[in-house]
């Protein structure tokens, strides 16, 4: 009888522990989902804020910069030695 009670108690404890762990996993999974969702949104906002569409406007209006025309862009030749080394 004692053995039966001990075995039964062990089975109940094991099941209760499993359920508690399952609930914990669910909570953590929900947090992960939320963090992933927030990360996606934040990354999207970072891309928008760091994008040319916004930065160019700010640079022109606040810093009085401008997009250089082609004559203001200098393409510096790469030394031939570096080419050969690659």
């Amino acid at each position: 009888m004692v053995a039966f009670v001990l075995v039964a108690a062990g089975v109940v404890w094991r099941r209760s522990y499993g359920i508690a762990q399952s609930r914990e996993i669910r909570v953590l999974d929900r947090e992960r989902t939320q963090l992933v969702a927030e990360r996606a949104k934040l990354e999207s906002e970072i891309r928008a804020l760091a994008g040319r569409g916004r930065l160019a406007e700010v640079a022109e209006q606040r810093l009085h910069m401008h997009v250089p025309n082609d004559s203001q862009v200098v393409i510096i030749p790469r030394p031939a030695r570096a080419d050969a080394a690659r």
Partner: protein, 677 residues
């Protein structure tokens, strides 16, 4: 022999034993024989299967930067009659940001079921979901880039995650993934949680789609298009940038006020006007029906052809085929096109891909209209030579010009570079696909040379760059309205350019719908192309091969003033005649220019050693005129050899120039004077 006597107690014992045996047999039957059946039934009562949504695959640009990503949110529903503490629920809903009218509905016991608007982060509503009577369903949300043009390309999904249009719809089978299943157990309080023992099936995320779009170039194109459309009061427009060697669509910007869906560069065909003339010329040259120096009578710009009045903006008595292309002469091209039979003219345009979809994965891509000769009327041949009675999409036209750029091969344009499974395994990779050869490499080179002339001394001088050659062709076509035919003073202005002309890396098409004021393609669309190319050259990541580009850079040394003046006179004079309708301020003859204060170069990039070929060029620094009275500023700029355009609105002094002070530009180039924003 005595008969066996069975006592009553014995009968009872037998009966009890039989009953016990029957119980044992039944128990054995239930436990051993039917055990699985009853276990399943019990599981069905305690465990319910829940669908696990599969996240849609990401959509990336050519540099692997995310354009669209998925994230999981929850949608809430409330059964008001199941809720015990409605006051607490109302507070919790309000805290989660649910609008007050919906909070009232959700706590109204007259209602059986209320689905709340909006989507919520799972943790934000975790407390709510634990409340009896509140039900949550996981839904996917697409986080899309802010670029409008990109959104038009990638398309949308509806509230249930079903694709609506764009790449989302065309490639839904790749993107949607496979839903999973989870076993959910309810505890004594009715709370549900995923079963720790019953196995679930994990959802499989959708595949990743990598587009050929370069997001940096896309932003450049969108910005240039937006600014130009606003400045010119255009109803809309499109910009397409294509890699002529692979067919990859690098950028595709579209603008239609009031409409934010559909990449109209794929879905809305238009009459291309003069941008079709080079293909007629190519057919004539390929068949030996004309030479580039062959001259026809262009009737001083007005000609009556079969009862129809044909006019030219650039009026001349005679023009060679080359000049017909440079000056976009309608009279000239109609006379040359008469040497082609209707079948030849039709087959020329058909072989270039007009009249059929290009095959890019985009729903509702338009085919355009190319009538077979049997459906032609008397003036159709002449109309088609001028780019009328045929409609093309911007992408079709850019693809046809790509054949000129790449040596004569018509390529299948590509919007999708790669499709990968969630574990990174490639499922599809774009490979260059040649549809057909439409001209020989020699003819393609000859056509590029012709188109360089259009930019250097023809109708497209405003597309020219200071340090690189650009080839291209302008188009200005009258617009139609449903049921009204051609509408007065309504035009589609366009320009298709090849950059750099010697070894094109970009085919760029700019189309503006109904620009106000100076409506010619050379005055409206061509400068937009220049803005895009300048920004692309300055950007580090705009899909340009700088090593190859450096090989075609013009030497920056200045030439003698004589040659500069000669070059300037030729380009400016012809432009002034061709674009007489364009509003230009009167320029007063000027004294010597104020000393320029050139700025240093602002962008440095590495490339292989350019093998600069000697080329005659004339570059002049734009003088600094900031703070000068407007009249003095105009004189100074004119004295430096530039044409001057004033921005709208009166300003007593000059604040800024475009190109900026110190920039090198060709004499004769337009410098815009504007007030500082």
């Amino acid at each position: 022999m005595p008969t066996p006597h069975v006592s009553r107690i014995g009968i009872i014992h037998i009966a009890l034993a039989s009953f016990a045996a029957a119980l044992l047999v039944r128990a054995g039957h239930v436990q051993l024989w039917q055990g699985r059946l009853w276990a399943d039934r019990a599981a069905r009562q305690h465990v319910t299967a829940a669908e696990v949504p599969a996240p849609r695959g990401d959509i990336l640009d050519a540099r692997e930067l995310p354009l669209v990503q998925s994230r999981e949110l929850v949608k809430l529903s409330v059964a008001p009659r199941e809720v015990k503490d409605r006051g607490a629920l109302a507070k919790a809903l309000a805290k989660a940001g649910v609008p007050a009218p919906w909070v009232r509905r959700a706590t109204d016991v007259k209602r059986v079921w209320v689905t709340l608007p909006g989507r919520y982060l799972p943790t934000d509503v975790a407390g709510l979901v634990a409340t009896r009577g509140v039900y949550a369903v996981a839904v996917g949300e697409r986080v899309t880039t802010t670029s409008e043009g990109t959104r038009r390309i990638v398309g949308r999904v509806d509230g249930d995650g079903a694709p609506v249009d764009g790449v989302e719809l065309a490639l839904d089978t790749f993107l949607r993934g496979v839903k999973g299943a989870a076993a959910v157990v309810r505890d004594a309080r009715g709370r549900s949680f995923e079963s720790p023992t019953a196995p679930g099936v994990a959802a499989r995320a959708g595949n990743t789609v990598v587009l050929t779009i370069n997001s940096a170039l896309q932003e450049i194109a969108e910005r240039a298009l937006g600014e130009a459309a606003e400045r010119m009061g255009a109803e809309g427009g499109d910009v397409v940038v294509l890699d002529p060697h692979t067919g990859a669509v690098l950028a595709m910007a579209s603008r239609r006020p009031g409409r934010t869906s559909a990449a109209t560069a794929l879905t809305e065909p238009f009459e291309p006007g003069s941008t079709l003339k080079p293909f007629i010329a190519a057919a004539l040259l390929a068949g030996g029906r004309a030479r580039v120096d062959e001259v026809v009578n262009t009737h001083d710009g007005e000609w009556n052809y079969r009862g129809r009045r044909i006019t030219d903006s650039h009026k001349a008595s005679r023009m060679s085929l080359a000049e017909v292309i440079h000056q976009s002469s309608n009279i000239g091209i109609v006379q040359f096109a008469e040497r082609l039979s209707p079948r030849e003219e039709f087959e020329t345009l058909r072989d270039l891909g007009f009249g059929m979809p290009t095959g890019v994965p985009y729903p509702s891509e338009a085919a355009g209209v190319l009538k077979p000769p049997g459906a032609w009327s008397a003036p159709t041949a002449a109309s088609m030579a001028m780019g009328y009675e045929v409609t093309v999409t911007p992408l079709q036209l850019a693809t046809a010009y790509a054949a000129i750029a790449n040596g004569g091969e018509l390529l299948e344009p590509a919007l999708v570079k790669e499709v990968r499974s969630p574990d990174g395994r490639p499922l599809f990779k774009h490979r260059r696909r040649v549809v057909r050869r439409v001209m020989t490499p020699e003819l393609a080179a000859q056509m590029r040379e012709l188109l360089v002339g259009t930019v250097e001394r023809g109708t497209a001088v405003d597309a020219d760059l200071a340090t690189f050659d650009v080839a291209g062709k302008t188009g200005t076509a009258r617009r139609t309205a449903p049921g009204r035919g051609y509408v007065a003073k309504a035009y589609t202005a366009s320009f298709v350019g090849l950059f750099p002309a010697q070894e094109p890396q970009f085919v760029i098409l700019v189309k503006l719908d109904n620009p106000q004021g100076a409506y010619y393609g050379g005055k409206t669309a061509a400068p937009v192309s220049k803005v895009v190319l300048e920004a692309a050259i300055a950007a580090r990541d705009a899909a340009l091969d700088r090593t190859a580009l450096a090989r075609h850079e013009r030497p920056r040394s200045r030439l003698s003033p004589d040659s500069a003046a000669a070059h300037s006179a030729s380009g400016t004079e012809r432009l002034a005649r061709a674009q007489s309708a364009a509003a230009e301020p009167a320029i007063v003859p000027a004294p010597a220019p104020k000393a320029a204060t050139p700025r240093g170069p602002v962008v440095l990039s590495l490339a292989h050693l350019p093998k600069a070929k000697p080329r005659v060029t004339t570059l002049q620094a734009v003088p600094e005129v900031r703070g000068l009275p407007i009249r003095t500023a105009v004189r100074t700029l004119h004295g430096a050899g530039f044409r001057v355009q004033l921005a709208q609105g009166y300003a007593p002094t000059a604040d800024a120039t475009a190109p900026a002070a110190g920039a090198l530009a060709r004499p004769g180039a337009v410098v815009r004077l504007s007030r500082q924003r």
